[in-house]
């Protein structure tokens, strides 16, 4: 029973298991079916895709083969075994193959090669070349092939490699008969024009981008003397050009490379070494793509023209030199004339003082007037020629317009003296600053106009007005009016007065003299500076000259000091006693002249010892002491004065040092000096020291010293450019007599002393060189040669320190090089100053 139960349960379990398995399997089967359905669907779409692709491929293939069959070029595609894969009708036509292209597929080309060989002008060469190309397996393009019947083909060969595996090749034959013919025609036409150019004596030369000669045409060869063979392949520049023109050519080569043409002139060297001048027109040569492949030069031999040009230039220079000589002659002559003229005028003055008879007096007056007129005429002529030749330079420097007008008026007033004529000045008080412009020209303009007014006005007044007419930013337009109460000018003559050599009438000329140049010069001077002038006049009542000139505002306030010499207003100068201890003659002269001018009593000592001796005899208020002197120097002398019982033990001593060197200053203070002045010093500085150190009880009534002649003369003379004009102005304040005196001393003393120095240098007497250099050194800045003074100082120090001879020679060489010009400038200015002496 139990067994039956077990069996029943087993059966039941197995049945259950089977059912369960069946259920699982059924589920799996359904899953499988679904997956299978999906796969089928996928397969279907895949097939469709393949169909589409196959179709597209077929279309593209058919397109390609249609294209190839319809191409004008003959195409032959062979596989790696030489079997035809593709061939078109054009190919068959070219080689006269009667078989239709599609029947040729698969056949071997080499079989039929012999059949077509006789079509080529050179069958052997064609066969050989085919073999060569096939074995090389390299791209060949545009090989020209000539046929017996006159056709010309361009052949391309393209080997086909896929992943380095050779898979056959493609031949392409293109009929280029027409192109070649056209090209030949072109070449013929080019040759024709080249021939024409050649016949025009234009030499053509073609070079590549590296400057190598590619072609040299016959006319060029003829021009340059080489044969074509000698030139081709040579560097054009190296072979044909002198070195000095390499730079010109380089510029041109760069232009060509940039695709630009150009025309230039160079010299060229012929084969025989002779030089010719060539005018070259260079053009770049382009390829079809527009790249520059070289250049073509068209050469024209202009040697004859150049010679002519040179001759002309030479002639022009000669003519100019002659003109220059003429001007120089005129200038020289004017000076030459002025010198005796000055003598005549001076002598006629002197003759006046020799109690001549009335008759003689009258002759003398005529003589004097004629000479004056002659002098005026000459200076006017000189001015006119200067303006005309454009030599007049307009200076731009700072000056005080107000001061100038006032001092001009003052000098006129002095001149008017007892005439019933007064001069008045009206100045716009808005003019507060100095201006920048040409003071000399303004002075000349005003002098001319005031001179005229003075001449034509017997009584009444002359009125000078200056006002600001316009002001823009820092520029002024100043209006000047010179009005008089003179005879006036008739209305119909107003237009004439500014014309050269024109006066109102002959009567005026007789009555008043003058060259008739004055107003013309004035007008030109004004216009040169960008100004204008006009005149208003009423006959018998007076004239009014109105002009305006542009100036720049300097931004500096007008200082009262300008145009005045330093004064010792607060010092009872006569009560002051000064001792000057100085070994240099020029410096002595310089200081003494100033002291004399200020009425200051002074004594002079030539060296420290003499100075000390004089200090023991007399009490001084101030001592000016040079520091470097022979016998006893300034320091020793000061120590002696300070440490001995004498009247000047407490007197102020001012050191005169050669330079502002600290060591010298310290030494001066240690020796007991109170202060120092560095050479070259100006009158101002001396005044300052005197005022500072002279005891106050001596300051008494104010005494102002004016010297009109100084300021008056100032504007008329200009120092030579070589000289330090600024320094000279500071030193002398336009006191021309003083300058003349100092220049004279320089020429008479320093110049000979310099020769002594030269001799000492040649003799290599360095101690003597040092001594002389020290001695004459300060005199150079006194004449405006400060640079030479610096060199002298260098020479002195070097000689003292016994530097090698070469170094001394170097310094001396510089002095030697500079000095002659300097001396010349001093002499020339001295001569000029002598001329204005009268």
């Amino acid at each position: 029973m139990i067994e039956i139960e077990i069996l029943k349960r087993r059966f039941e379990r197995e049945r259950e298991a089977r059912k369960c398995a069946e259920a699982i399997l059924e589920k799996k089967a359904l899953e499988l079916f679904n997956v299978n359905q999906d796969l089928l669907a996928f397969n279907g779409s895949l097939e469709h895709l393949i169909d589409e692709r196959t179709h597209a491929l077929e279309t593209s293939q058919s397109r390609l083969s249609t294209l190839i069959s319809n191409m004008n070029a003959g195409i032959l595609l062979e596989d790696e075994n030489g079997k035809i894969v593709l061939v078109n009708q054009a190919f068959c036509d070219i080689f006269n193959i009667a078989v239709p292209p599609h029947l040729l597929l698969g056949s071997d080309c080499s079989d039929s090669l012999t059949d077509v060989l006789n079509l080529f002008s050179n069958p052997d060469q064609f066969g050989k070349r085919i073999f060569e190309v096939l074995s090389n397996r390299q791209i060949v393009s545009a090989e020209e092939i000539k046929m017996v019947d006159g056709r010309i083909f361009s052949r391309d060969y393209i080997p086909i490699f896929i992943k380095n595996e050779y898979l056959g090749h493609l031949w392409e034959y293109r009929d280029v008969t027409n192109e070649v013919l056209v090209q030949e025609k072109l070449r013929a036409s080019e040759d024709k024009y080249r021939g024409i150019i050649e016949n025009m004596e234009l030499g053509l030369l073609e070079v590549d981008n590296d400057g190598n000669i590619v072609t040299a045409y016959p006319r060029f060869c003829e021009m340059i003397g080489y044969t074509q063979g000698e030139l081709i392949g040579k560097k054009a520049v190296k072979t044909l050009l002198p070195k000095e023109y390499y730079a010109v050519l380089n510029t041109q080569i760069n232009e060509r490379a940039a695709g630009r043409s150009g025309v230039y002139e160079v010299q060229m060297i012929k084969k025989d070494g002779e030089r010719i001048w060539a005018l070259i027109s260079g053009v770049p040569i382009f390829d079809i793509a527009g790249n520059v492949t070289g250049a073509l030069g068209i050469h024209y031999d202009i040697s004859n023209q150049k010679k002519l040009q040179h001759d002309l230039e030479f002639a022009r220079q000669k003519a100019e030199a002659a003109q220059e000589a003429e001007k120089q002659f005129l200038a020289n002559m004017s000076h030459e004339i002025r010198t005796p003229l000055n003598a005549i005028i001076g002598m006629s003055h002197l003759l006046h003082d020799t109690s001549p008879s009335e008759e003689q007096k009258e002759y003398l007056t005529i003589l004097k007037n004629s000479a004056e007129m002659l002098r005026m005429l000459i200076s006017d002529v000189l001015d006119i020629s200067k303006i005309r030749s454009g030599k007049l330079e307009i200076q731009q420097k700072e000056f005080d317009v107000v001061g100038m007008v006032r001092s001009l008026a003052k000098s006129v007033q002095l001149r008017l003296n007892d005439r019933p004529l007064s001069i008045e000045v009206k100045i716009d008080d808005r003019i507060e600053n100095t201006v920048i412009g040409d003071d000399l020209l303004l002075n000349q303009i005003l002098t001319n106009l005031i001179g005229n007014a003075e001449k034509f006005t017997s009584e009444g007044k002359i009125e000078i007005t200056v006002k600001i007419k316009a002001k823009v930013a820092n520029h002024f337009l100043l209006e000047f009016i010179v009005a008089d109460t003179g005879i006036g000018i008739p209305e119909d003559k107003l237009g004439l007065i500014f014309q050269t050599f024109r006066q109102v009438d002959g009567d005026i000329k007789r009555k008043f003299g003058g060259t008739g140049l004055g107003l013309s010069i004035t007008k030109q001077l004004i216009e040169l500076q960008g100004g204008s002038i006009e005149v208003q006049s009423e006959l018998g009542k007076g004239s009014k000259f109105i002009f305006n000139l542009p100036y720049k505002d300097s931004g500096n306030k007008i200082s009262v000091k300008e145009y005045s010499v330093p004064t010792l207003s607060n010092i009872q100068t006569a009560a002051i006693k000064v001792l000057v201890v100085e070994d240099n003659y020029m410096n002595r002269k310089y200081i003494s002249t100033l002291l004399k001018k200020w009425n200051i009593t002074y004594s002079m000592a030539n060296d420290g010892k003499e100075g000390f001796e004089m200090a023991q005899k007399e009490k001084f208020d101030i001592i000016f002491m040079d520091v470097q002197m022979p016998v006893m120097d300034g320091y020793e002398s000061t120590i002696a004065i300070r440490n001995s019982k004498n009247m000047n033990a407490d007197t102020c001593i001012i050191a005169l040092t050669a330079s502002a060197m600290l060591s010298q200053k310290d030494k001066a203070f240690q020796a007991g000096m109170n202060d120092y002045l560095s050479k070259p010093f100006t009158p101002d500085q001396i005044v300052e020291k005197i005022q500072k150190y002279c005891s106050s009880e001596k300051n008494g009534t104010s005494k102002t010293e004016e010297n009109d002649s100084d300021t008056e003369g100032g504007a008329f003379f200009k120092f030579n450019k070589r000289l330090d004009a600024k320094l000279l102005e500071e030193l002398y304040f336009n006191d021309w007599d003083y300058v003349r005196e100092m220049f004279k001393i320089f020429i008479e003393n320093t110049v000979p002393e310099y020769s002594t120095l030269q001799n000492a240098f040649v003799a290599e007497d360095w101690e003597e060189v040092r001594r002389l250099a020290h001695k004459i050194k300060p005199t150079f800045s006194m004449v405006g040669l400060s640079d030479i003074e610096a060199l002298m100082l260098e020479l002195e120090h070097s000689a003292k320190n016994r530097v090698p001879k070469e170094a001394l020679e170097e310094i001396f060489g510089r002095i030697e090089a500079k000095l002659p010009q300097g001396i010349e400038a001093v002499e020339s200015d001295f001569n000029k100053l002598r001329l204005i002496e009268v």
Binding site: I6, R9, R10, E12, R13, E16, A17, R18, I24
Partner: protein
């Protein structure tokens, strides 16, 4: 747990002890299927523990021994069932070393829901492999049986020493020595 394990187990029990024993352990266990297993099904592994536990009691043979014996048997069955997957394997160590990276990968392809034990294999020398068994099924002895079956399959001789790393047997160190 795959049904094939159950059917193989019950076949093995029947073969060794007769169907009466099979019936007894099924009847003693409380099974979702009432003991009707098909090789292609999937069943809770707790049922296997019940069956083995009851067999152990019935025949008085420790569970470990039963699991080893069963493992040895299952190995040969598995080798027959999946010949392509082990074609390239020629000896035991090679197979052991390919469990994680090859065999289990293939198993997951066929049974995506299989819950597999983790083996960390370290080759100590030419003849020794250390295997760390980790599984919440705690059936390291089944693994030992499988290894022994493997040695037999490749005609090799070897022993397996077992050390529990966790008392519940969820992490076990097996030292496999090839002779």
């Amino acid at each position: 747990m795959k049904g094939v394990i159950f059917t193989e187990f019950l076949d093995l029990v029947e073969e060794n002890f007769g169907y009466e024993t099979v019936d007894t352990i099924i009847e003693k266990s409380s099974l979702s299927t009432n003991g009707a297993y098909t090789a292609i099904g999937t069943y809770p592994h707790s049922e296997m523990f019940q069956l083995i536990g009851n067999l152990s009691q019935e025949k008085n043979i420790p569970v470990e021994v039963l699991l080893r014996l069963f493992g040895k048997h299952v190995f040969s069955v598995l080798m027959k069932s999946f010949p392509t997957h082990t074609r390239h394997i020629s000896h035991t160590f090679q197979l052991l070393e390919s469990i994680e990276n090859h065999i289990h990968v293939e198993v997951r392809k066929i049974y995506p829901d299989a819950e597999l034990p983790h083996f960390q294999i370290t080759r100590l020398d030419d003849n020794t492999i250390e295997m760390i068994y980790t599984s919440k099924r705690k059936m390291a002895d089944l693994a030992i049986g499988l290894i022994e079956g493997c040695f037999d399959h490749f005609n090799e001789k070897g022993t397996v020493q077992k050390t529990n790393l966790k008392d519940d047997g969820s992490e076990v160190r097996l030292l496999i020595l090839k002779k």
